[in-house]
């Protein structure tokens, strides 16, 4: 990760853009992608803008790449923030962005370029003295040396970039003193031990033993304490062990060489072990992030209901990263509302954050704690973004704490925001699909209902109109027999229309809870007789058998509704059975209940549909040929229930169904 570091200190050398052709075998412009290598330096913005222009000129797609390489000095928070800012900036300009990790930057860049058909590489050339360049070839040179078939656009570092550098709000790492004290302590203890165990004369071993504090310091606390330990060790070694003892002067000049070797070995060891430590730390952090994200994404798939999912997410955030969180989502009117909030979050605080959340929601940029906007807020507000859409806002409450100073944390919360956004987007889509389906279904139901009602009304009306026009226009052609038939058709049509209208009114009454019973003591035989008279015409040639128990007591019912119920059940039986078949109506007493059964020899009902035939608008799936509205039996059920009774249907042994009605006699 030299590049990033190097770019941060560009010197006064070279302004503007100068494009050099790198090691290209083919001088003709080749189609393929353009890639820009970015780092955490603000100078990378310049690179990105240049890359965008060049890509535009060449009319090719472009990629922004960041190679995350472990290195001696850990990345600062600012640098890490800058990396993600740079990548986002590239994304906004239309680039594809990639982050890869590896130890050898130049190698990673070249192999990535090969894999992604990159023919142009835009790279920043930091400027430093010729001396250093001669000693250690820069990453840029290494890449150019390795890159074949690639055109390089090298942009020299620009000094004014530093002046334009954004003011970061995150404070830099404060130097921690404890490791240095511990290292000093270790060296003192070691010196004393060596002094008093009589090993002082074996100078080679003493020198080797002094590497221990260096190793421990570097591997535990990083490169600073490591280097510090090497210096203190060499001083202690010189002062206490190398003759003349208790003096920094050296008797034998050859010891100077030994010191130099010791120092080199110590510093190398320190740098290596601290590098190792950084790698380990990063690997661990990454593992933690992966685990957290994995847990979260699993949570999201488990629950399929938005508020529950969001609740679990905020709880997970509180649990996994240790800070309270809340999520704001817009409601139906687009007003931002708190959708979920972790248990220990300060409710007042969450409520008060509404305005910042709204700003973040409107602008699509993060704000609050640790950012440049409204940084005095206790929460960090992140927009929940998928593609171009912002679904809501995630808030993490850091309170008085600083945001943990690591890219990992930043990556984690951004990844969480991404996951939440994806979850919300998915849920919203699901909701929309569900709504569309419901709308389509209710539309379908409405159409079916309108169709069947119009058919049911129009058919008898057609019969009436047809008969009447036939009789009025050409009365002379009809015999008296014909005339009687036509008049009969009119009567039947009128009765049928009346039944439908009664049923429609009935269902409206049932639906609106306006079905009031006017109970009186009635003779059931009488009611049955009236209902049969009503449907006589539609029975045509079906054979109706009526079996009424003679000892039937008077019943306390609503006479008119009872009649409507019986008419509906019997006309249903007639409708679904062939002409000349038998319909049997029986009425008998069973304890304090009256039971009526209507048996037909019709087409029957499949077992799995038996329970549904009393549902509103339900029509048999198997036979769509019989016209109807699906209201009759539903109304019958409503009437029976209003009387405190029950209605059910059974399949007959041979053919058709039997509908049973049972209701209490009354007091």
């Amino acid at each position: 990760m030299k590049m990033a570091k190097e770019e941060q200190r560009p010197e006064n050398e070279g302004f503007g853009k100068d494009t050099v052709e790198g090691k290209t075998k083919d001088q003709r412009p080749v189609a393929g992608k353009l890639m820009v290598c970015v780092s955490g330096s603000p100078f990378s913005r310049e690179l990105i803008r240049s890359a965008d222009q060049i890509a535009d000129d060449l009319n090719v797609k472009w990629i922004a790449l960041y190679v995350d390489a472990p290195r001696r000095t850990p990345k600062t928070m600012n640098e890490r923030m800058e990396i993600s800012r740079n990548l986002r900036a590239a994304e906004n300009l239309g680039a594809e962005t990639f982050v890869i990790s590896g130890t050898q930057i130049s190698g990673e860049i070249i192999s990535f370029a090969r894999e992604h058909n990159v023919r142009h590489i835009v790279i920043g050339k930091p400027s430093y003295s010729r001396m250093i360049e001669w000693v250690r070839p820069s990453v840029v040179d290494q890449i150019i040396r390795k890159g074949e078939n690639v055109t390089f656009h090298v942009i020299p570092g620009r000094p004014e970039v530093r002046a334009n550098m954004i003011n970061y709000i995150f404070p830099e790492h404060a130097v921690k003193w404890a490791p240095y004290l511990v290292v000093t302590g270790m060296i003192i203890v070691l010196t004393l031990l060596l002094k008093f165990t009589g090993m002082a004369n074996d100078l080679v071993n003493v020198a080797l033993l002094f590497l221990i504090p260096v190793l421990i310091g570097a591997s535990r606390w990083g490169i600073g304490p490591g280097f510090y330990a090497s210096l203190v060790s060499i001083l202690s070694f010189d002062f206490f062990f190398v003759p003349p003892v208790r003096s920094f002067t050296v008797a034998d000049l050859r010891y100077i060489l030994s010191f130099a070797v010791f120092l080199i070995v110590a510093m190398l060891t320190a740098s290596l072990s601290s590098k190792l430590r950084n790698q380990l730390k990063e690997a661990q952090e990454n593992e933690k992030i992966t685990l957290t994200l994995y847990t979260l994404s699993r949570e999201m798939t488990v629950v399929d209901e938005l508020t529950a999912t969001l609740k679990r997410i905020v709880l997970q955030i509180a649990d996994k990263i240790g800070f309270q969180a809340a999520i704001y989502l817009p409601d139906k009117d687009g007003e931002l509302k708190i959708a979920a909030c972790s248990n220990d979050a300060n409710r007042e605080q969450v409520k008060a954050g509404g305005l910042i959340a709204k700003w973040v929601y409107d602008h699509g940029e993060m704000a609050g704690h640790g950012t440049q906007t409204l940084s005095e807020s206790s929460g960090l507000f992140l927009p929940l973004r998928t593609e171009d859409l912002i679904h809501g806002v995630l808030v993490i409450y850091y309170g008085a704490h600083r945001i943990p100073d690591s890219l990992e944390h930043k990556k984690l919360i951004e990844a969480i925001a991404g996951l939440v956004a994806a979850a919300v987007a998915r849920m919203n889509l699901q909701e929309e699909a569900k709504k569309a389906q419901m709308a389509a279904e209710s539309e379908k139901l409405r159409n079916v209902l309108l169709d069947s009602i119009s058919h049911e009304l129009r058919t008898p009306l057609s019969a009436i109109t047809g008969s009447v026009t036939a009789l009025t226009d050409q009365d002379d052609v009809f015999t008296s027999e014909d005339r009687k038939e036509l008049l009969g058709t009119i009567r039947q049509g009128a009765a049928r229309m009346n039944r439908l209208i009664t049923n429609l009114l009935g269902i409206v009454r049932l639906e609106s809870g306006m079905l009031h019973l006017k109970k009186s003591w009635c003779d059931l035989e009488d009611i049955i007789g009236v209902s049969i008279r009503q449907i006589e015409d539609s029975l045509e040639n079906r054979q109706l058998t009526v079996e009424i128990d003679e000892s039937l007591p008077p019943v306390q019912v609503d006479e008119l509704l009872m009649e409507q119920m019986l008419v509906n059940i019997m006309s249903n039986a007639a409708k679904y059975s062939a002409d000349k078949t038998r319909i049997t109506l029986s009425a008998y007493q069973k304890g304090d209940h009256i039971e009526i059964s209507v048996q037909d020899k019709g087409i029957g009902v499949p077992l799995n549909e038996l329970d549904h035939i009393f549902d509103k608008f339900y029509r048999l799936k198997s036979d769509a040929r019989v016209p109807g509205t699906g209201l009759g039996l539903a109304i019958a059920k409503g009437i029976v229930k209003a009387h405190g009774g029950t209605i059910w249907a059974n399949q007959n042994q041979d053919q058709g169904i039997t509908v049973f009605i049972s209701f209490p006699v009354g007091k």
Binding site: S454, H455, G466, S467, T469, F478, L486, E540
Partner: protein
């Protein structure tokens, strides 16, 4: 009226009341009637009993009316009159374009239905091409492409003449917008607005009608097409 006795009509309707009404009324007008209560039965009777005309209810509950029509049209040219409800304009058009000869909207007057049946039957009777169509006030000489109104030759543009000829040769029947556009202008005009058609019909009406705003010869069937009345 005597020729009615030879005509055998098949009624395909699921509603017993309508079937009864039709058979009573048609019998009284000396038609012989056959009844089918569903599409399947209807198709069978259409093939075995050779009716002279079919009255088909488009609103069979299983929605098979249009299928029945198409199936019968695959092998038979028998005139078919559709019974349908007013709201289903698109069904009427579909039926007419699928080969129905005419339609009657429910609830219908018996006189109207019988008149339509007679027109349809007459059409099959005079299948042979006549070279001169005489409508009294209007006379069209197809062989000479001459149109006379009250005996005076009137100038028609080729498109107008073609449109008039098409309507007149199908006198008594409804021609849908699509059918007219397709046959007069050819395939590419099918998707055109029927406004285009209305303009031409307006021109023709001015030339042949006594009062073009109250046409007596070319009647508009709202939403469906035009009908030339004999």
């Amino acid at each position: 009226m005597t020729n009615n006795s030879q005509s055998r009509l098949l009624i395909i309707d699921d509603e017993a009341q309508i079937r009864k009404l039709l058979s009573v009324a048609l019998h009284a007008h000396h038609f012989e009637t056959l009844e089918a209560s569903n599409g399947e039965e209807g198709i069978l009777m259409a093939s075995t009993d050779h009716p002279d005309l079919i009255v088909l209810d488009l609103g069979l509950p299983d929605g098979s009316g249009i299928n029945v029509l198409k199936l019968i049209r695959e092998w038979s040219e028998v005139p078919i009159i559709i019974l349908t409800v007013k709201e289903r304009e698109e069904d009427k058009i579909l039926a007419l374009e699928s080969g129905a000869d005419d339609y009657v909207t429910k609830p219908f007057g018996m006189g109207e239905l019988i008149a339509r049946i007679r027109v349809a039957l007459r059409h099959t009777a005079k299948a042979e091409e006549k070279s001169v169509l005489d409508f009294g006030r209007l006379l069209i000489d197809l062989s000479r492409r001459v149109v006379l109104v009250n005996g005076n030759p009137i100038k028609f543009t080729p498109t107008e003449y073609e449109l008039l000829r098409l309507l007149a040769t199908h006198a008594g029947r409804v021609m849908t917008h699509r059918q007219l556009l397709k046959q007069v202008w050819g395939g590419q005009m099918i998707n055109t607005d029927s406004n285009y058609l209305r303009v031409y019909i307006g021109h023709i009406r001015k030339k042949i009608e006594v009062t073009p705003t109250q046409p007596k010869m070319i009647l508009t069937e709202p939403g469906v097409g035009y009908r030339f009345v004999e």
